[in-house]
Amino acid sequence: MLGVGQAILVAALGERMYQLQILESDRYVMLADENRINLQLLAPQRGRILDRFGAALAENHQNYRLVVIAEQAEDITATLDALAGLIEIGEGDRRRVLRDIRRKHPFVPVVVRGSMSWEEMARIEVAIPELPGVAIEQGLTRSYPLGETAAHAIGYVAAVSESELGRDPLLELPDFRIGKSGIEKSQDAELRGSAGTSQVEVNAFGRVVRELARVPGRPGKDVVSCLDAAMQDFLARRCSTEESVASVLLDAVTGDVLALVSNPSFDPAPFAIGLTPAVWQQLSADPRNPLTNKAIAGVYPPGSTFKPVVATAALATGVLTPETPISCPGYLELGNATFHCWREHGHGTLRVREAIKRSCDVFFYETARRLGIDRLAAIARSFGYGNVVGLDIPGERAGLIPSREWKLATSGTAWSQGETVIAGIGQGSVLATPLQIAIMVARLVTGRAVVPRLVRADGVMPPGGDPTPPDFPALGVSPRVLAIVVDGMNAVVNEQGGTAYAERITDPGFAMGGKSGTSQVRAISEYEHEHGLPKISEIPWRERDHALFVGFAPVGAPRYVCATVVEHGGVRGGHGSEVAAPICRDVLREVQRRDPARRVPRGDTLAQLHPLDRSPPNADAPGG
């Protein structure tokens, strides 16, 4: 009986084994593999960002991390003490390391120092035989050879935030970095590449025993930007003389942004590691907004730089002819309001070319009044105002071209003619970014709807020039009208009496045209009109006028456009010529000097299609 009972029980064991090992075996094989096989992602190397000639603007830098592995160190505190004798280890770091060691498995490396200088690395490398448990790990960090100089255009990378987690499993890697601004952000998909995988066998404690299979990832692609590193550097240096500047240098024909500066800037590299709260606080509290790309996200009343658009609109619609005279007594009275010219006693009777040259306010008050806001706004929009122009990095702002509907929607009151008049000199509600001002001129000098770009799809510039430059559609404004306005802008710089005559380029063949502007941050009161403006030194920085200038060169066959806004840079109630124009002048001279071929543009620029009947645009140009 006992034997039978035991036989039954043994049979039960056998049956159970059969059930587990034969019937349900597949399921358990799968579970066993799930147990032991761990899929690890291999982060791809991020692509570089190059300038138009192939120089690196963002690359990956080898970096050395100092780690300790608790199970290899006999006495972790002794090891840390020994390390402290070689490099500086703060008390906070030390506590963090000891805490991490307690919390993690003993075979997990704990980072003591995220990045070490070459010298520190060498010191530890030499002593490593006496430092059990210490190891140096190599990693890649993003580095920016131009540093602060190109931070706004190139952007930076930083750790992935919660809201950015998407379908890409790479984003969940703790050390992974993605682009947060500039080209780093807009081209993130190209630069990122795709993850490789490594199948590893792990034990019950998570320790990797061996690698079973490896699928290499696809490294990120290099992205070629339109920037010219030399010009970027030049422009940034030139802008650093002013407190707060935004400037953009364009190739008017292709729309390529050759340089883009917003000053003050910031160092993009620390973002990859993570900013300290103190640095972050300092950056975000600065009234000059170092983190904002003011060239595309700073909106300013364009002031007198808006006048060429008004002139174009008037000529194109027939409101003015080149010969229509308008008299400037120094003010325009409209109903019971008085609009003053910057020149107290007026300019006398002017035609459009002269009005641009001398930047007469009353002429453009009257022109705008005759045009009406609707026609003015339509032309302004076609020149790129009032809407994002479509630069291929994030953060661009639209500025504002006011309209009747806008006025009604925002304030609930009807449009008044006074607002049209004030819009005629780019004040009132009109707002534009430096990029928009540059694009306006690029469109003016080419007659085409130029769209700016920071990223070149065609790769690095071949030595012979772009084989397939972008083909922009025509603006639909008569070339003859454009030629008259461009000629007026030539006179601004190159004729005596022009508002920027002092800033002309005297090198033969390099001469620029342009338009100066000053935009008021605060209204000038009637009292000040009567008793004189306060001295610049008496106005707080934040209330001073913005100084603007937009220039193009060479004036005979325009290729390059530079727009500059010096925030609160107005000097003595000037025209923007005093601080903004010299920057444009120097940059336009430099970019022409550097132009490797001194190439004549393709021949479809307006100035060549319709050569102006003038003597060579240089210093010898006759005064107005």
Partner: protein, 384 residues
């Protein structure tokens, strides 16, 4: 001189008889099982004799000599020494309770300097030994009397209570079951078992109240192991994964991922059957069970052929104990019964357990070698 030579003439053949009486087939089976165990221990240490296989080999060699020695001693000596041996081991268990130190979360060890003895493991065998002697001396009518069953019940109950207090649920269960079986073999009436079971069932809620939390958890876990795969159910789930993934022929020697990557707990002791069945599959696992069955059948044959009641009881008790530990361990790792700490005899790593099993087999072989010896109620050789 004459008497001396006559003595010699009588004794030598008896020792020779004893040696010849040893069931060498059983010894061979035992050695085969132990070798299998050493192979698995070698694999459990990632293909190394250290730390388990080498030690276990030496221990087995010593235990083998001890077994043969035990087998050769005249059965009457064991009969007479039965209560004394029981008393000594019981005293050791008490000593462990008094001055044991905490190891594996339970007080079980006594440090003898050379080895750490776990006296509770020896308790099984000596309880069987003591009960065999007691029932041998009891007449058929006395077995039916309750008052004659109180003393043997205490013989089982006292060490079981002490072991449970250590706390070692596995050994306590083994003691109770092994003892109960001996009562059954001795011919105690079935209604007493029925009564005991009824009483136990009635006491169950009370016992539940006194169980420690981890013991309760083990029972919950047994009832639903998948409910808490990383907590209490971890051991049994990992064990089932290891067994199941072994399949028909196993993953191969040294290839068990579950055991080598430490997913399997206690892979060299309580869960060694899993280690084995993962690498050698259903074939290896059933092979071991067949080996065990042969040993058990052999043991039954030896016990039943004994001409004295003591030998039969002792033999059957030892074989049944052996069977119980095999069954409890195997059923546990397969998830058939709750996890109780019972080692797999002859295979699991551990000195005392091996010693106890081999001591038991020594007694069993002794029974076989002295099957014709007749014993009276006082352990004296009966004439004829």
């Amino acid at each position: 001189m004459a008497s001396f030579s006559a003595d010699l003439g009588r004794r030598e053949p008896r020792l020779w008889q004893s040696i010849r009486g040893i069931s060498w087939g059983l010894v061979l089976l035992i050695c085969a099982a132990a070798c299998f165990g050493i192979v698995v221990l070698y694999s459990a240490a990632d293909g190394s004799m250290d730390p388990w296989a080498a030690k276990q080999t030496i221990r087995f060699a010593i235990a083998l000599i001890l077994m043969v020695g035990t087998a050769l001693v005249d059965i009457r000596h064991w009969f007479r020494a039965a209560y004394w041996v029981y008393a000594i081991v019981l005293a050791l268990v008490v000593a462990v309770d008094l001055r044991g130190f905490v190891g594996m979360g339970a007080q079980r060890w006594i440090d003898l300097g050379v080895i750490q003895l776990q006296p509770s493991e020896l308790m099984n065998v000596v309880v069987v030994l003591a009960l065999a002697r007691y029932f041998h001396s009891l007449s058929g009518e006395d077995v039916g009397r309750i008052r004659c069953l109180i003393l043997p019940a205490l013989t089982v109950g006292l060490p079981a209570a002490l072991v449970l207090k250590q706390p070692d649920l596995g050994t306590a269960v083994m003691l109770l079951m092994g003892g109960t079986v001996l009562f059954f073999i001795a011919g105690v009436r079935l209604r007493y078992f029925a009564l005991t079971v009824a009483a136990a069932a009635a006491a169950l809620p009370g016992v539940w109240h006194f169980l420690r939390d981890y013991q309760k958890t083990r029972i919950y876990t047994f009832l639903d192991p998948d409910s808490d795969p990383l907590g209490a159910g971890y051991h049994i789930l990992q064990s089932k994964i290891a067994l199941g993934s072994g399949g028909l022929f196993g993953k191969g020697f040294l290839q068990g991922s579950q055991s080598h990557l430490s997913f399997l707990p206690e892979k060299q002791t309580d869960f060694i059957f899993t280690t084995l069945a993962e690498e050698f599959g259903l074939v290896g696992g059933l092979g071991l069970l067949v080996l065990y069955s042969l040993i058990i059948v052999y043991g039954f044959a030896i016990a039943l052929r004994s001409r004295n009641h003591f030998g039969r009881l002792l033999g059957l008790g030892i074989v049944t104990n052996f069977f119980l530990s095999v069954f409890i361990n195997a059923a546990m790792v397969m998830g058939l019964i709750p996890v109780v700490g019972v080692p797999l005899p002859l295979i699991s790593y551990g000195g005392t357990a091996l010693l106890a099993v081999m001591f038991g087999f020594g007694l069993l072989i002794n029974v076989g070698a002295h099957r014709d010896t007749r014993l009276n109620s006082r352990g004296e050789r009966r004439p004829g």
